[in-house]
């Protein structure tokens, strides 16, 4: 019982630090061909002519196809989340053949013997476009005068959610905070670009893909391509990060299968980074109008949220559901009487948006945490005090929020106190006052974010009630091998999270076998056939719990056999440290001995089968609710607008911790991505709808030189909704850090009249805010 909670070094590392990796692009198959896609240079146009004949006959070119060539069989890329009954879900052909609706949309392809020849032949394809007006601004898109992205118009849906009496909350409210925030469009930028290898023997198809969701992908691809599900195997080998961007059913995956089917040859496609910036789904891109009503003492009465969410040109797998994932989090950790939420999904001629780390929850947290600072200023109290007056006190858990979620556990006071001590809050406030007094060119700002989020997607019945197309369960199987080693088969699909290590820890404890004796099998629908994959900080809370439950079931089976071996009743056996011991005696059998006895099957109970496998499917009863307090100090150079993060403290409560090393790593990475939204990243389209940030020279990501060391610590309030007491940690840092940074910047500049800086807070934007 000692593995869980231990800072085990990761099992995954060995191959990753020596280059013995299995990235999808590494795969070389006999006769393999390479696909290159020609992509639309127009944001919006009718395709009047495509002539691929020029590409044929180029060296090494096997075939070239236009969208028309696939029109009959390519189907439509799926949207699994029709959030309202009257939602507009346009057809989404994997390869455009009538109209293009964003720059980068695939319009033709070449298949050649190597990637160089495929790239060359693309230049010989001729396409004529009749330009149509791009649609780039969400608010304009909703006007009657706007050109239409789709015939049905530019509105996809309006989704409403209301709790409590919002009119009463706002009636005569002495304080109303009314703000509009822009969640800029982001490009998730996993370090591994997407790659796909499709192969077939004529009957059976195998798709390797750099995906987060091999299981969901298999179901969806079967539906889209007509390849029967049982004839399709999907493998996610080593996957180099996802952050939601590989939670998708992509055009390239569909087309690779169709091409492999047509040519009877294995085909590979690997995107370049600039291709990826154009065509990996983007994240965020919302306009948030938030109104908060409060008493003169700063007690919140109600919250109105009106969102415009840019869907981009089409609805992809969960595009319309992303803002809804935030709908229930706008109230954050605060008590209030009423909540009114409206979200309108808008089509534009840009790359579709979809899940990006946090998916809806960072947006919600940003808005409420920014507004809490404004509330504090409005009534003249410290921003921490404004939060204290409104947050759910630890003795009030479990607490059902105005959004209808029941937060099972938490202790906001404890996390905040710990963070304040680590941060040196009071001392920094003194320094801030001093710099203000001296009118120093470099001003100090302090930003606070007391966040919570919902993890562990998700109770299937809740997903059903939100019209999501699938459930939120997770599956595990545990097998005890004849020599006493264990295999854990998980339906989660890690791409950096360390499941091989953490699941080994969980299983080792439950089975009483050494950590080293556990192997975790994942990411292949043939070897790990049941699963719902990895996203939404769900893997541990749902999948890890399934591993625990399956392990316990296996122990129960072994107990039956052990009892038979030792001629006692199963109830007479204690199980500890991997051994079954007859109560009150020294008589014992190790689980390894039981495993071999089962394998030999010389002496099974009458009618029993050799069966030392066990499965479990967990469908969570509730979400889990990690929380924490993040504090950020920034130095703002008021002459140039440059923002430097001076210190950053994060105290997170993610419940019980399986592996503190992994938890800390997740928090670090999450904070960095949240800071990057605050300061650096933005996908920018020009007035014609061209993406200007197609390379990493333009879409700026922070390096080690741009970030400080983060001080992280934890409080540990176990979740009560699962037997491991865990809450999930994959997105917490990202959700918390963005408002902490922007609050700090605004705090630094508030005496100079600044009350908002639009993200990313570039030096130029900060400087302009000061003018």
């Amino acid at each position: 019982m000692t593995e869980v909670g231990t800072a085990r070094k990761r099992k995954e590392d060995g191959r990753l630090i020596t280059g013995r990796t299995q990235w999808t692009d590494n795969l070389q198959l006999p006769g393999m061909l390479h696909v290159a896609f020609l992509r639309s240079p127009m944001a919006h146009a009718r395709i009047s002519r495509v002539d691929v004949s020029g590409a044929l006959g180029r060296p090494g070119v096997i075939a070239a196809f236009s969208g028309q060539d696939f029109a009959a069989e390519q189907g439509s890329l799926p949207c699994a989340w029709p959030v309202t009954e009257d939602i507009v879900i346009p057809d989404h052909p994997p390869m455009a053949f009538e109209e293009v609706r964003y720059v980068g949309e695939a319009v033709a392809c070449v298949i050649a013997t190597d990637r160089y020849k495929a790239a060359d032949a693309l230049e010989a394809i001729e396409i004529d476009y009749e330009p149509l007006e791009p649609v780039l601004d969400m608010e304009e898109a909703l006007t009657d005068a706007s050109p239409k992205v789709h015939a049905a118009g530019n509105k996809s849906f309006t989704w409403k959610f209301a709790q409590g009496d919002i009119d009463a909350a706002f009636a005569d409210a002495p304080v109303v905070i009314d703000r509009t925030y822009i969640q800029q469009r982001l490009i998730p930028t996993a370090m591994e670009p997407r790659a796909v290898v499709a192969q077939t023997d004529g009957d059976m198809f195998t798709l390797h893909s750099a995906t987060q969701i091999p299981h969901v992908l298999r179901v969806m691809l079967a539906v889209v391509t007509g390849i029967p599900e049982h004839k399709l195997r999907v493998i996610a080998p080593d996957v180099g990060g996802g952050f939601g961007s590989k939670l998708q059913v992509t055009a390239e995956e569909v087309l690779a299968l169709l091409i492999a089917r047509r040519l009877g040859k294995p085909v590979k496609w690997t995107e370049s980074r600039s291709e990826g910036n154009l065509t990996v789904h983007h994240g965020r891109d919302q306009i948030q109008h938030i109104q908060l009503a409060a008493t003169q003492d700063g007690v919140i009465k109600g919250l109105k949220v009106d969102l415009l969410a840019d869907m981009g040109a089409y609805l992809m797998l969960v595009t319309p559901g992303i803002p809804l994932l935030g709908a229930f989090m706008y109230n954050g950790i605060y008590k209030m009487d009423a909540l009114d939420f409206t979200c309108t999904g808008v089509f534009t001629t840009k790359m579709p948006t979809d899940a990006y780390r946090g998916a809806g929850r960072p947006e919600a947290t940003y808005a409420i945490e920014r507004a809490m600072d404004e509330l504090a200023v409005e009534i003249g109290i410290d921003p921490l005090e404004a939060r204290r007056r409104n947050w759910i006190r630890h003795e009030e858990f479990p607490y059902t929020t105005i959004a209808g979620l029941t937060y099972d556990s938490g202790n906001y006071e404890a996390a905040t106190d710990k963070a304040l001590a680590l941060f040196g809050y009071d001392k920094l406030r003194v320094e801030q006052a001093d710099r203000r007094e001296r009118n120093d060119a470099v001003q100090l700002g302090i930003g606070i974010s007391t966040y919570t989020e919902m993890c562990g997607l998700a109770p299937s019945r809740v997903l059903g009630s939100l019209r999501y197309g699938a459930g939120g369960w997770e599956h595990a199987q545990v097998r005890l091998l004849p020599t006493g080693k264990a295999e854990v088969i998980t339906g989660t699909s890690p791409h950096g999270q360390g499941h091989e290590t953490a699941w080994s820890q969980i299983a080792a404890d439950a089975l009483g076998v050494p950590f080293e004796d556990v192997t975790v099998i994942h990411g292949d629908t043939m070897t790990a056939p049941k699963g719902m994959d990895t996203y939404g900080s769900r893997s541990l809370v749902v999948g890890g719990v399934a591993v625990r439950k399956a392990s316990e079931r296996l122990v129960d089976k072994a107990r039956q056999l052990a009892a038979h071996m030792m001629e006692c009743s199963p109830d007479d056996l204690d199980f500890a440290n991997g051994a079954f011991t007859v109560k009150g005696t020294e008589t014992a059998k190790t689980i390894q001995e039981v495993a071999f006895a089962g394998f030999a099957s010389h002496n099974l109970p009458d009618g029993a089968e050799y069966d030392l496998d066990a499965s479990a499917t967990i469908d969570p009863e509730n979400f889990s609710y990690p929380h924490g307090t993040h504090l950020c100090a920034v130095e703002v150079d008021t002459e140039t607008g440059f923002v430097k993060i001076r210190s950053y403290v994060a105290v997170d409560d993610v419940g019980h911790v399986i592996n503190p090393l992994i938890v800390e790593g997740q928090v670090h990475g999450g904070i960095a991505q949240g800071i990057a939204q605050a300061l650096y990243e933005e996908a920018v389209y020009d007035a014609e709808g061209n993406l200007l940030t197609t390379t990493m020279a333009d879409y700026l990501l922070p390096s080690a030189a741009d970030l400080p060391d983060f001080v992280t610590d934890r409080t540990e309030t176990p979740a009560t909704s699962n037997p491991l007491g865990v809450k999930g940690v994959g997105e917490a840092g990202t959700i918390a850090s963005t408002p902490a940074v922007v609050n700090a910047i605004v705090d630094a500049l508030r005496p100079r009249g600044v009350r908002d800086v639009q993200m990313p807070c570039t030096p130029e934007r900060v400087w302009r805010a000061l003018q």
Partner: protein, 289 residues
Amino acid sequence: MIPASFDYIRPVSIDEAAHVLGNAGDEAKVLAGGQSLLPLLRLRLAYPTTLVDVGRLEELRGIRDEGDHLFIGAMTTHDEVMRAGAIREHAPLLALAAATVADPAVRHRGTFGGSLAHGDPAGDLPAVARALDAQFVIRSMEGERSVGAADFFVDYLETALGPGDLLVGVRVPKLGQGWGFHYEKFRRTAQAWAIVAVAAAVRRDNGVIQEARVGLTNMGTTPVRATAVENAVRGAAVDNGGLREAANEADDGTEPPSDLHAKPDYRRHLARVLTFRALTLATPTPPPA
């Protein structure tokens, strides 16, 4: 992404390189370290028919002390420039600027001459070359000629190098005693290009600025010499507002570009602020009495 096809020639001498380039026509490109050129080829923003690889010509490499100036071979890498004793002693501004180019791996491959020949006004070395009045030594089949920095940078990504020309190296005049140097680079992230940068060399005597050289990065289609600042700062006392006043002339006559990271008015503002900082940090402190 993948470059289009090209022919590849690796001459073994400057003479051969000049000959090859002279006969290769307009579409030939000189390949030095490739750190600017290869990304352009990969993005298919350039389609040379022939690359003439001079990266290994030892004749083009290294730093020579030639009395009143240093000669820096065009194929000397940024890494070598930032470490070379002769440069640190006689032209430290070059070392300071070279150390800010891209990142260590790029500095190992990227060359001094390649970077200057690329003619990118956002590059770090062109402004320094302007500030130091470097002379560019160019070989072609017609022979050798020398072009001053003021004439070398012609327009955006355009230099005095024509087809058939090879940049052999750069002569950098040594500045005498009493000079101080600073390269003030402003960028959004560590490896990003400069939004604006200022290269400053300042000579001080008796608490007064005797002379200054100021070059501006990314304030126009070419690197710019801030002559108005240089004139204004001459004779300014170090410890009154003279430096700031002079720095306010920094954007005089410039036409800064507008791009994703900055609009022209912000660049003008930055030029003034950064010039003041560069002048201040470049100004040598007198030895304690």
